[in-house]
C-alpha cells in the first residue's frame, strides 16, 4: 500500500504510492482543472433547476418551481390539442348515418383507428385483444351473430348490452331445463345428442332420435325447428360449426341444464354516442359483419 513516493522516469509522473504484485504502480495523472469546474457548473445548474422547476417533496405537496411547470398540465394540453384535431372527424361521424360511414374513406379510417383503441380499452377484457373471444364470450371476428351482425344490430347490442337490467337491453334468456326440473338428466342427455348431430358432430343415433322429439317440443320455439336459431331472441344457431360454450356432450348438457346466458354491460352513457358508433364500425369490420 501507500509506502513510498515514486517518480516514474518514462512518463515524468509521480505514482500514487500504491504498489501491487511488488512492482505494479499507479500513475498519479492529474485531472484538468476545467473538469472540476464543469462539476461546479453542474451543481449550479441543479440549484437553478430546483428554483425554476418542481423539485422538493414535502409531506403533502411539493415545491412548484418558479416557472410553474407541470408535466401533467403538459399532457392535458397535448390531449386537448389532439381532441381539437379529432373534432372535425367526430363531428362528421356524429352527423353521418352508420351505414354511410364506410362509404366515406376519411371517416372510415378515423372510425376504425378510434374503434380499435376503444375496443382495447373497453371490450378486450372479455372479448380478447383481437376480439377472438373465449368460452362464453363470443368471437366477434366470425360470421355467427346471436343478436344480429348488421351495423344497426351491433350498435344496439353495444349501446344497451345483454341481460344487464337496462330497459332496452337484450333480455331474453334460456330456461334452466335441468336446474328447474323441467327435464330429467337422461332426457337432457338425449337432447344434447340431438343438438350435436344438428351441428354436424357425431352423436348416439338412438339418443338423438329420442332427443329430436323433445327438441321439437321444448326448444324449437326459440331455436327453430331446424335448430338455426333466432336473432330476435338471441337464440344461437345450433346447426353451425360455432359453439360458444364448447361442443362436447358434457358442454352441451351443461348448457341445457343451466341455461347459460351471458351478460354484457350497456355502453350507452359510459361512452359518448360517437365512440359507440366508432366501435360499431370497428366490430363490423372485423370480418363477420353482415
Amino acid at each position: 500500500m501507500a509506502s513510498e513516493k515514486h517518480f516514474d522516469e518514462v512518463t515524468g509522473t509521480h505514482t500514487t504510492g500504491h504498489v501491487w504484485d511488488g512492482d505494479l504502480r499507479e500513475l498519479n495523472k492529474p485531472l484538468p482543472k476545467w473538469w472540476l469546474y464543469v462539476l461546479y457548473v453542474c451543481i449550479l445548474w441543479s440549484i437553478a433547476y430546483w428554483i425554476l422547476y418542481p423539485a422538493w417533496p414535502s409531506l403533502t405537496d411539493y415545491s412548484k418551481g418558479y416557472l410553474g411547470y407541470s408535466q401533467r398540465a403538459e399532457v392535458a394540453n397535448d390531449i386537448a390539442v389532439a381532441k381539437a384535431a379529432q373534432e372535425k372527424y367526430r363531428q362528421g361521424i356524429a352527423n353521418t348515418a352508420l351505414a354511410d360511414i364506410p362509404k366515406n374513406p376519411e371517416l372510415m379510417q378515423f372510425a376504425l383507428a378510434g374503434g380499435a383503441a376503444l375496443f382495447g380499452d373497453n371490450c378486450s377484457g372479455c372479448h380478447g385483444r383481437g376480439a377472438q373471444g373465449s368460452v362464453g364470450y363470443p368471437n366477434l371476428n366470425d360470421d355467427d351473430w346471436m343478436w344480429g351482425g348488421a351495423l344497426d344490430n351491433i350498435h344496439k347490442t353495444i349501446s344497451f348490452g345483454i341481460r344487464n337490467g337496462n330497459e332496452q337491453a337484450h333480455s331474453t334468456a334460456m330456461p334452466r331445463f335441468g336446474l328447474d326440473g323441467a327435464l330429467e338428466p337422461a332426457v337432457i342427455n338425449d337432447v344434447a345428442s340431438y343438438v350435436r348431430s344438428t351441428g354436424g358432430l357425431e352423436a348416439d343415433k338412438d339418443a338423438a332420435t329420442r332427443g329430436a322429439a323433445v327438441f321439437a317440443e321444448q326448444c324449437s320455439v326459440c331455436h327453430g325447428e331446424d335448430g338455426k336459431g333466432n336473432q330476435e331472441l338471441g337464440a344461437p344457431n345450433l346447426a353451425d360449426s360455432i359453439w360458444l360454450y364448447g361442443n362436447s356432450q358434457k358442454d352441451v348438457v351443461t348448457s341445457i341444464t343451466t341455461g347459460r346466458g351471458g351478460i354484457m354491460p350497456a355502453w350507452d352513457g359510459r361512452l359518448d354516442p360517437v365512440s359507440v358508433k366508432m366501435l360499431t364500425v370497428y366490430v363490423h369490420s372485423l370480418g363477420g359483419g353482415k
Binding site: 515524468g12 498519479n28 366470425d142 353451425d240 360455432i242
Partner: protein, 512 residues
C-alpha cells in the same frame, strides 16, 4: 532580470544552429504533468492532482503537410457549408434539395437516392462502412482521421488561423499575452472572439439547413418564423463550435474523445506513424558553423517541432496519447534540415519496425497488404457491394404483409377457416398507382378486402405514400383437405395494373 512587460523575441529564442532559432519551449503535456503531480504529492496523500491548462501557441508551419491540411480544410468545410444549397428537381410536391434529411416526413434524400424510414438500414450500412474505413486508415497510417479530417481538427485549425490573423503568430501572440491589457490587446482579442462567434453561428446555421429546405429556412431564420427546434439546434451547434473549436481545442482530443484510446488496438509494427527517428537524430545538440556532423545526430534541438505542435507535445518523446498525427512537425523539421543542410525526414511517417533499425529508411519494407488491412478492405468491399446491389434491385413498389396474430384464424359458421392480413402497399413513385392483389398457394381460397368491392378490386395508392389494405382469405370447409399442417405457405403478390411491376411476399395460412 528584465521587466516582464518588456520581453523581446530574444527571451524566447536563442540559436540552435546558424540561422536556426531555438525555441524556448517545453512540451506542454510533460511540464504540466510534472508540476501538477508534485503539487498533489506535496498536498498529501488522498488529494486529487489537478492540472491547470497550459495554453498552446502553435506556430504556423509551412510545407507539404500544411498544404494538404489546408486543402482538406477548404474541401470539407466547403462541402459542409454549401451542400444544403445544391438543388435537385424531383417534381412537384417533393423537396428540391439534393441533400435533405427530412425527419418531418421520414424521408432522407441523397441526390437521386431516396431512403424511406423502413429502409434506414442503409444508414446503418453507411455507418458500418465509415467505422471500418476509420479502422482501415488507422491500421495503415495511424490517426489520419484525427490529423486531417476530424471536424474537431478542421474547425480548430480554422479557429487558430483566425486567431493568428488578429493576434499574430506564436511569438508575437505570446509576447502580447504576457503583456498588460492595452487597447491593442483588447481589440485584437475582441476581434478574434467576434470572428469565432460568427464562424460558430454559420456552422450552426449550416447544420439546420440539412433538415429543412435551405432557402426557405434561411428566410424563416432571418424573419424569426423558423421552428423553435431550428433555433435550438443552431444555438447548440454554434455554442459547441465556439467552445470546442475556439476555446477547448486540444483538450477535447486529450480528455473527451474516446478514439485515441480505441486506436491503439488498430496499430501494429507496420503502421505508418509520424515519428522522430531517434536513430539518426541522437545524440542531439546545437550545431555551430564548421562543426562536424560525425558522431552526433541530425537533431539540432531547435524545438521547431514542439513550437508548431497544436497539442503541445514533443514528438521526440515517442508515440503519445495526445498526438493527433497532424504531421506539422514533419514540415517544421524538414524546413530546419534544409537550412542546416541535412537530409529531410528526421521526423517522418515511418513504422515502428523501421524505427528499431539504425539503417532503415522511413518507408523501407512497407507492408500495406497485411491480414488486418485486407480484412478491413474485404469487409468494406463486401458491404459496399451488398448495399449497391440492394439499392439497384429495390423496387418502387413494395409491400409488407402482416398476418393477424390474435386470432391467428377464425372458424366461420359453415366450418370454413378465415385468416386476416394487413397489406401495406408502398408507392415510391410520384404518380398515383393502380394495383391488384393476387393470393396464391392454396387451392380453393376465396379473398375479400375490407372496404373494397369484389374479389379482385383495383386499389389506388397515392403519390409517394403507403396504403394499408385489410385482406381476408377464406378456405371453404370442403377445401380444408388442401392443408397439410396448421400453417401452410401462402403467396401474396401486388402488381401494377399498367406496368406489371410487382412485389411479392410469402406468409402463412393458419388453421386449427
Amino acid at each position: 532580470m528584465q521587466d516582464k512587460t518588456k520581453l523581446t523575441p530574444d527571451d524566447f529564442i536563442t540559436e540552435a544552429a546558424p540561422g536556426v532559432a531555438r525555441h524556448d519551449v517545453q512540451a506542454v503535456a510533460r511540464r504540466k504533468a510534472t508540476a501538477a503531480t508534485v503539487a498533489a504529492v506535496d498536498a498529501g496523500p488522498g488529494k486529487i492532482a489537478l492540472a491547470g491548462r497550459q495554453h498552446v501557441y502553435p506556430k504556423k508551419a509551412k510545407g507539404r503537410y500544411r498544404n494538404i491540411k489546408s486543402a482538406i480544410l477548404v474541401l470539407t468545410l466547403g462541402i459542409y457549408y454549401l451542400l444544403p444549397w445544391i438543388r435537385w428537381d424531383r417534381g412537384p410536391g417533393l423537396p428540391s434539395q439534393a441533400f435533405l434529411l427530412d425527419f418531418e416526413h421520414q424521408r432522407l434524400y441523397f441526390g437521386p437516392i431516396e431512403i424511406w424510414a423502413q429502409e434506414f438500414y442503409y444508414i446503418t450500412g453507411l455507418l458500418v462502412i465509415s467505422a471500418l474505413g476509420l479502422f482501415l486508415v488507422t491500421s495503415v497510417a495511424g490517426r489520419v482521421w484525427c490529423g486531417y479530417a476530424c471536424p474537431q481538427t478542421v474547425w480548430t485549425d480554422m479557429m487558430v488561423a483566425v486567431e493568428r490573423f488578429w493576434q499574430g503568430d506564436r511569438n508575437v501572440h505570446m509576447r502580447r499575452d504576457a503583456g498588460p491589457w492595452t487597447f491593442d490587446k483588447i481589440w485584437r482579442k475582441a476581434a478574434t472572439h467576434t470572428s469565432w462567434i460568427l464562424i460558430s453561428l454559420a456552422t450552426g446555421g449550416a447544420f439546420v439547413f440539412y433538415f429543412r429546405d435551405a432557402p426557405t429556412l434561411a428566410t424563416e431564420l432571418m424573419t424569426g418564423t423558423a421552428p423553435s427546434v431550428a433555433y435550438a439546434f443552431l444555438g447548440i451547434f454554434a455554442f459547441t463550435t465556439y467552445l470546442l473549436g475556439g476555446i477547448a481545442r486540444e483538450q477535447v482530443c486529450i480528455y473527451m474523445c474516446p478514439w485515441p484510446r480505441i486506436q491503439g488496438a488498430m496499430l501494429d509494427r507496420n503502421s505508418l506513424l509520424v515519428s522522430y527517428r531517434a536513430a539518426i537524430g541522437e545524440p542531439r545538440g546545437p550545431h555551430k558553423r564548421g562543426d562536424t556532423w560525425d558522431n552526433r545526430g541530425d537533431c539540432v534541438d531547435c524545438k521547431a517541432c514542439v513550437a508548431v505542435c497544436p497539442v503541445g507535445i514533443d514528438i521526440r518523446n515517442g508515440a503519445q496519447l495526445e498526438c493527433i498525427q497532424c504531421a506539422l512537425c514533419i514540415d517544421a523539421c524538414n524546413e530546419i534540415m534544409d537550412k542546416v543542410g541535412r537530409p529531410r525526414g528526421l521526423i517522418d511517417y515511418t513504422t515502428e519496425h523501421n524505427l528499431a533499425s539504425a539503417t532503415a529508411g522511413p518507408r523501407d519494407g512497407l507492408k500495406l497488404l497485411r491480414a488486418r488491412t485486407l480484412l478491413y478492405s474485404g469487409v468494406i468491399a463486401l458491404i459496399c457491394a451488398l448495399m449497391t446491389w440492394s439499392l439497384l434491385s429495390r423496387s418502387d413498389l413494395d409491400i409488407s404483409v402482416l398476418a393477424d396474430r390474435n386470432p391467428q384464424f377464425v372458424t366461420l359458421s359453415d366450418g370454413s377457416v378465415r385468416n386476416g392480413y394487413t397489406i401495406k402497399i408502398v408507392n415510391k413513385t410520384d404518380e398515383v398507382r393502380q394495383v391488384r392483389i393476387k393470393v396464391s398457394g392454396i387451392k380453393g381460397i376465396v379473398t375479400s378486402m375490407v372496404g373494397l368491392d369484389g374479389a379482385d378490386p383495383v386499389i389506388e395508392v397515392p403519390v409517394a405514400d403507403v396504403r394499408a389494405v385489410k385482406l381476408f382469405v377464406t378456405l371453404p370447409r370442403e377445401s380444408r383437405s388442401e392443408l397439410s399442417s396448421t400453417s401452410t405457405p401462402l403467396d401474396i403478390t401486388v402488381a401494377d395494373t399498367t406496368t406489371g411491376v410487382n412485389s411479392a411476399r410469402r406468409t402463412s395460412f393458419h388453421s386449427p
